[in-house]
């Protein structure tokens, strides 16, 4: 293994730039044993980023019985480790919960340290590399279905950071660009075949209200706004499997009052060469939806709108029928969707503006919104908190370490984490590649663009609460600003679904 080399490197290293251990030994002299001076208790205040309060929560959640870290555990481990690789056994023989708690905490420290090393101007790749090696030792025996949530999560983050490291190195050597998902092709896109992804998606829907929350909130709003019309036209930004529309169709045909269901027309945007091999093609989805519509007796037609490679949305491309109610649907919360650049989303939403749709429904993840502090570290911690909450929420649905969960984590969350980190690392916040000017959430952007917030009805809110109640008490639904429902896990917001109308319309939601 590369460890032997690392040992050599390690002895040469200087830690003076390491800001996280402000007061402690920054110098690394001679052998490896001065690690004892490196307190495992990171000087939190020195870590940039203001999201530290939430972080303490994160740590709290990992310390099941509330025991604090034991500073004396760490040094001996570290001292022993450089020549010997198998500290793994040592770690795991952690005595019951104590060991796990502490280990979880240690993982967090290491992750933060590695992220810190990779961020900002003081980018210190060597340090990061060493830390990652250590991390990998810690997470590897437990990865993939065993181990605690924290261990598996740390595993994914470690991989992601590793990707950054390698990517950075490759970039430094003039190597090629990174994939949008992560810089390590041999890990990422590889074996996701469509069936596997589909199965994982199905599982995810059963494990957590995540997917349904966004879909059902949007559908209810659509139903209320245009359910009584004769013709409804929905433009879907990213139709994926089209599962959202199955339940909308069901709702449309079973409307009270015996009215005939409106004719539903769906236009799905497709992107050439999107590189997503693991989701069905738009045509397949269309066929499937048509078959479903037939089975429930919903008049239906489907169109596909191919976007140019630059992914801008030209409103003129849509075929509009006079007298139809136009709805734009933008579900960005599906975990297995390809990455959509802000520019692409922005062009869709602003293009929609030109057409004055009756309704715009949006669902987005509450992560990376800049609330967790600035810079890569802020984003990193925000992501860590976010995905930790996601993992916890999945675990609550499936209490045992479980292959199903492991599958979902591996197929969805791992790449998502890697992609998010890669993007955060590459870009600087606020300077989006395509200059879409998006800083906060898409909801805020919509408000700024001139859309008017719609209204979440009592039924909608009620439905959301009932839905999450089916899963676990840890979920909660908040109504924010009257037009937004936010799904959260314990104290962390996970995703939000919001409703908007064009200002030219009278308020048609009630």
């Amino acid at each position: 293994m590369a460890l032997a080399n690392d040992v050599d490197d390690v002895t040469m290293m200087e830690f003076s730039g390491h800001s996280t251990t402000a007061a402690d030994a920054d110098e690394f002299d001679g052998g490896c044993c001065d690690w004892s001076d490196w307190s495992p208790v990171v000087d939190w205040d020195a870590v940039p980023g203001s999201g530290l309060d939430g972080f303490h929560d994160l740590m709290e959640s990992m310390l099941e019985d509330g025991t604090g870290p034991h500073p004396h555990h760490l040094p001996p481990q570290w001292c022993d480790s450089p020549p010997s690789v198998h500290d793994a056994t040592n770690d795991r023989e952690g005595d019951g919960t104590d060991g796990h708690d502490f280990k979880g905490l240690r993982l967090v420290h290491l992750l933060l340290a590695a992220a810190e090393a990779l961020s900002g101007k003081g980018e210190n790749r060597e340090l990061a590399r060493v830390i990652l090696v250590r991390l990998k030792e810690l997470v590897s025996p437990a990865s993939g279905g065993g181990g605690t949530n924290m261990e598996r999560l740390a595993g994914h983050f470690t991989d992601a950071l590793q990707g950054l490291l390698e990517g950075a190195r490759a970039a430094g050597q003039g190597g090629g660009g990174k994939h949008s998902i992560g810089g390590r092709p041999h890990r990422e896109e590889v074996c996701y075949n469509q069936t596997e992804v589909l199965v994982a998606f199905h599982l995810l829907q059963d494990m957590s209200p995540y997917v349904k929350f966004g879909h059902f909130t949007a559908n209810q709003a659509i139903l209320e706004a245009v359910g009584h019309e004769r013709r409804v036209h929905v433009v879907d930004y990213d139709i994926m499997e089209g599962v959202q529309w199955a339940s909308l169709m069901q709702a449309l045909v079973s409307q009270k009052g015996g009215r005939p269901s409106p004719h539903l027309r769906i236009t799905a945007l497709s992107r050439a060469g999107s590189g997503r091999r693991w989701t069905p093609t738009v045509q397949d989805t269309g066929r499937r939806l048509a078959a479903y519509a037939k089975s429930v007796g919903q008049p239906f037609s489907f169109h596909q709108c191919r976007l140019d490679p630059d992914k801008t949305f030209p409103p003129a491309v849509l075929k509009l029928v006079p007298g139809e109610a136009l709805v734009f649907n933008c579900m960005l919360h599906l975990p297995h969707s390809a990455y959509h650049t802000p520019g692409s989303v922005a062009s869709f939403l602003s293009g929609a503006r030109a057409l004055s749709p009756r309704l715009v429904t949006l669902a987005e993840e509450e992560v990376g919104l800049g609330g967790g502090g600035v810079g890569f570290m802020g984003g990193f911690m925000d992501s860590l908190q976010h995905y930790s909450a996601v993992y916890d929420s999945l675990e609550a649905g499936f209490p045992m370490p479980d292959r199903a969960r492991a599958l979902v984590e591996r197929v969805f969350l791992g790449p998502r984490i890697a992609g998010t980190l890669a993007r955060m690392h590459r870009g600087r916040p606020g300077e989006e590649e395509d200059g879409s000017g998006k800083v906060g959430s898409w909801g805020e952007w919509l408000g700024a663009e001139g859309y008017r917030p719609g209204r979440v009805s009592f039924s909608n809110h009620c439905q959301a609460k009932l839905l999450v109640g089916l899963f676990n008490d840890g979920y909660r639904v908040e109504e924010v600003a009257g037009n937004r429902l936010v799904l959260g896990w314990k104290s962390r917001r996970l995703l939000s679904a919001s409703i908007w109308t064009s200002s030219s319309d009278p308020d048609s939601l009630d």
Binding site: A396, E409, C462
Partner: protein, 354 residues
Amino acid sequence: MFHPKKPSGMNSHERGMCVQGDSGLVLTTDPKPRLRWTVELHERFVDAVTQLGGPDKATPKTIMRVMGVKGLTLYHLKSHLQKFRLGKQPHKEFNDHSIKDGKRASALELQRSSASSSAMIGRSMNEMQMEVQRRLHEQLEVQRHLQLRIEAQGKYMQAMLEKACQTLAGESMVLHNSSGGGYHSHKTPSSNMPNSMNSIGGGGAPFVKDFGSSSPLNFPSFQDLNIYGSADQLDLHPTLDRPSLSLDSYHLPSNNNSNNSHDNTGFGKKRPSSFVTGGSGKNPLLWSADDLPDHGHEQIHTPEMVDSISVDIYETKPAPALHGGGGGDDQTEKNLQKPLKSHRHDEHLFQQAG
């Protein structure tokens, strides 16, 4: 439209049965005969007004014509229309109309008597009650609809999965059913494939794993588990074999079972290490060995698919291709039959109408 004969709970128009004589009008016996706007008459009035496009559009003349009630004069209609326009309050009707009809429900009498003396309070209480009732009603509706929508979504997903499974069914396969609680062990195939797990890359072999009836997850044992293995590679034994035997055969390539087992749970999870790639999180979907808790042995199972609702099975096909080298990620696909749920879910809500 409000029907006088049917009491409707939400409507203050609810009066019992004011069945009028067919002559139509009820006149008081006062010295100066005044028209009594009974319920039915008023209802016809409202009908006519609506027909004409609302109280603002209707005129006494047109109303009279539409109503076609004999003895109804313009004066009657004028004043009534005015009152109607002004208040449009159902409660007002109470006070205006005949109270002496003996066929009222007693609840209404109570309401009326209080209304007459404290009309305002009565009105708002009534409205509040109605509001609460309306909300409750709505909530029930929402619940019902939610159930239907979840089902619809589930049906759609299921159709998709079935389709996907069928498309993979090109490969040869062998289907076995196991009763709940059992598992199948596979002999090591003679080929270089270490076990029956199939790589998805080759097309996917869904395996189904059985937790056993004592699963802490509270899932019932599966009735229908299908395990697929390629006929040419595997020999499936429908009985519970001694774990150790199968274990060895599975774990030939790897001896670090201890690495793979997780102590926290009653289940030991083992994976043939040939499938474990570099210690990353990307372990094969291979869900090997799971125990039946009472055994305490680790047995090899096919990946679990926890299915709380027995139902339509997916017949899927294992792909024969197995990469022993562990270069790529070898995974098995789960045979997904039904939605997984936590113990908290209401089972019936996730019933998929087959």
